[in-house]
């Protein structure tokens, strides 16, 4: 794996140790990974394999014990990184619009411009007519749609997804995956997706990294040989089925 200047993310031999002495736990053991500027990478693995820790390191929320982390998110007309969490992480006291425009507001963008942009994105994620609603008036799926709109409003170069649809029901989950892949296909964006769903990984990613638990290691890298965006029909294809069983076998190891 050679890092190139085109890469938005490059991790080299990143290790993370929690605690010290005899109680030290190696969460990540020499993890290396690159993400290209228009690439979607998925990290899958059992819980406790350090996939969320890897994402937090990329986001700058955690500092690795050792190793090299490079994140290049400056770009023309867009920039920065956005993160989506396991919960929608909405501000209960703000309306849908208020939540969506938050990143622009913090960045100091003119209020009227931010408002307009928020209304546009609210439409993109299918929440037209709900801009003035508060999060508690929305279903779980609608709340996560609001979070999607918020994570895209700053036009990020890097989108970090930490099991964002884990708490949704199967139908809403598929729908959200579909919409997210369509939205991502419409703009140049690098995505790192942490998930425990093999299907979600195959559906969204260009490359899939399989991680093992304790210590967290990259044990397998798989390229998904299908064009993006993918459709639900692809799930019945031979390539998909083969890939799915291959990944399942890797996870069991």
């Amino acid at each position: 794996m050679r890092a190139t200047t085109d890469d938005v993310v490059a991790l080299r031999d990143v290790s993370m140790v929690f605690g010290a002495g005899s109680r030290a736990v190696v969460a990540l053991d020499r993890v290396s990974l690159t993400v290209g500027s228009n690439e979607t990478v998925a990290l899958i693995g059992p819980s406790g394999c350090g996939k969320s820790t890897t994402l937090r390191i990329i986001a700058g929320l955690a500092r690795p014990t050792s190793g090299e982390v490079t994140v290049r998110t400056a770009g023309e007309g867009q920039g920065g990184l956005s993160m989506m969490f396991q919960t929608p992480a909405l501000f209960d006291w703000r309306t849908v619009r208020g939540n969506v425009m938050l990143p622009l507001e913090v960045a100091g963008v003119n209020r009227a411009v931010a408002r307009e942009e928020a209304d546009r994105l609210v439409k993109v994620v299918g929440l037209e007519g709900f801009a003035d609603h508060r999060p508690f008036e929305l279903s779980g799926g609608m709340q996560q749609r609001t979070a999607v709109a918020r994570s895209l409003i700053s036009n990020p170069r890097l989108l970090l997804l930490d099991e964002p649809f884990g708490s949704l029901d199967a139908i809403t989950r598929d729908q959200m995956c579909n919409e997210l892949s369509a939205i991502c296909a419409s703009r140049p964006i690098a995505v790192v997706l942490v998930t425990h769903s093999i299907a979600e990984a195959i559906f969204l990613a260009d490359r899939i990294f399989v991680m093992s638990a304790r210590p967290g290691r990259m044990i397998r890298e798989v390229r998904v040989p299908m064009a993006r965006p993918r459709s639900v029909d692809d799930r019945a294809s031979e390539v998909w089925v083969k890939l799915e069983s291959e990944l399942r076998a890797a996870l069991v190891q």
């Binding site: 929320l61 501000f91 209960d92 006291w93 913090v106 508060r134």
Partner: protein, 262 residues
């Protein structure tokens, strides 16, 4: 939004009406008991007599009570102004927090009213010691509840704010304060009910003005009617302060679980 606003208005009106009916019932039972058991007016005056005293002595009662109420509100405002920022400091993981939390726990358990005589010894009879005493009692619930609000912010919200580079005062203003507001109001409501108690206790031990002092005088003069009139005024002010705080809360946190559907 499944409820209609007229419906919730009717529910609220019904609540107020049933509360008022209960109060009236108590007064009626009281009047009947005093008459039926021929209780001495020196022990328990007739409600009708108390009402007459209220009207006859209204100027005196209003003057006494307003200075007490003003002190209570000033002390409460001071407790809010200092309790919230110190609650924030208490919520930050640091060495100050460890030192502060031990101190506040000790101060929380200590029966604070007991030190009223010391306030009198140190600071005397003026307005300042009264306000400080009220502040002293009202401060802890606000600080403790604010701190628990600030520490309850979920990790995902904190991480979101960090990835958005929301820092310093803006982080406080846009995330931490709004999130903690429901907790803060719980503290303020507790303190609001303490404020009048503290004001009156201080007037018992170290004042020559105010409704607390007036009530103490009625004990010396065995003027039970005026004493009861004083109780009525004190209760009214207590209700009013609590009502104002609850009203502000209703306006400030309409999104909160406890307010939904109201």
């Amino acid at each position: 939004m499944l409820h209609s606003s007229s419906n919730s208005l009717r529910t609220r009106a019904l609540k107020v009406a049933s509360g008022a009916a209960a109060m009236i019932a108590i007064v009626v039972v009281w009047q009947i008991c005093v008459v039926a058991f021929a209780i001495s007016p020196g022990v328990l005056p007739l409600p009708s007599d108390v009402l007459r005293t209220l009207l006859d002595q209204q100027n005196f009662l209003i003057t006494s009570a307003s200075s007490t109420a003003l002190n209570a509100l000033t002390g409460l405002a001071l407790a809010v102004a200092l309790g919230i920022p110190l609650g924030w400091v208490l919520a930050q993981p640091s060495r100050i927090q460890a030192a502060l939390s031990t101190t506040t726990l000790a101060a929380q358990i200590f029966p604070k009213i007991a030190v009223a005589p010391l306030f009198v010894v140190w600071l005397g009879f003026g307005v300042l010691p009264k306000v400080l005493f009220i502040f002293w009692l009202g401060f802890f619930p606000i600080m403790i509840n604010s701190a628990s609000g600030f520490t309850s912010i979920p990790t995902d919200l904190r991480d979101l704010a960090t990835t958005l580079k929301l820092r310093g005062f803006r982080r406080f203003w846009k995330l931490e304060l709004p999130f903690a507001l429901p907790y803060i109001f719980t503290g303020i409501k507790i303190s609001a009910s303490f404020a009048m108690t503290a004001a009156i206790v201080y007037e018992f031990v170290g004042s020559s003005t105010g409704i607390g002092y007036a009530i103490l005088q009625t004990q010396i003069n065995l003027n039970t009617r005026l004493m009861f009139a004083g109780f009525f005024v004190v209760a009214l002010i207590g209700f009013a302060i609590y009502g104002v705080v609850a009203g502000i809360e209703r306006l400030a946190i309409p999104w909160h679980v406890s307010r939904r559907g109201q």
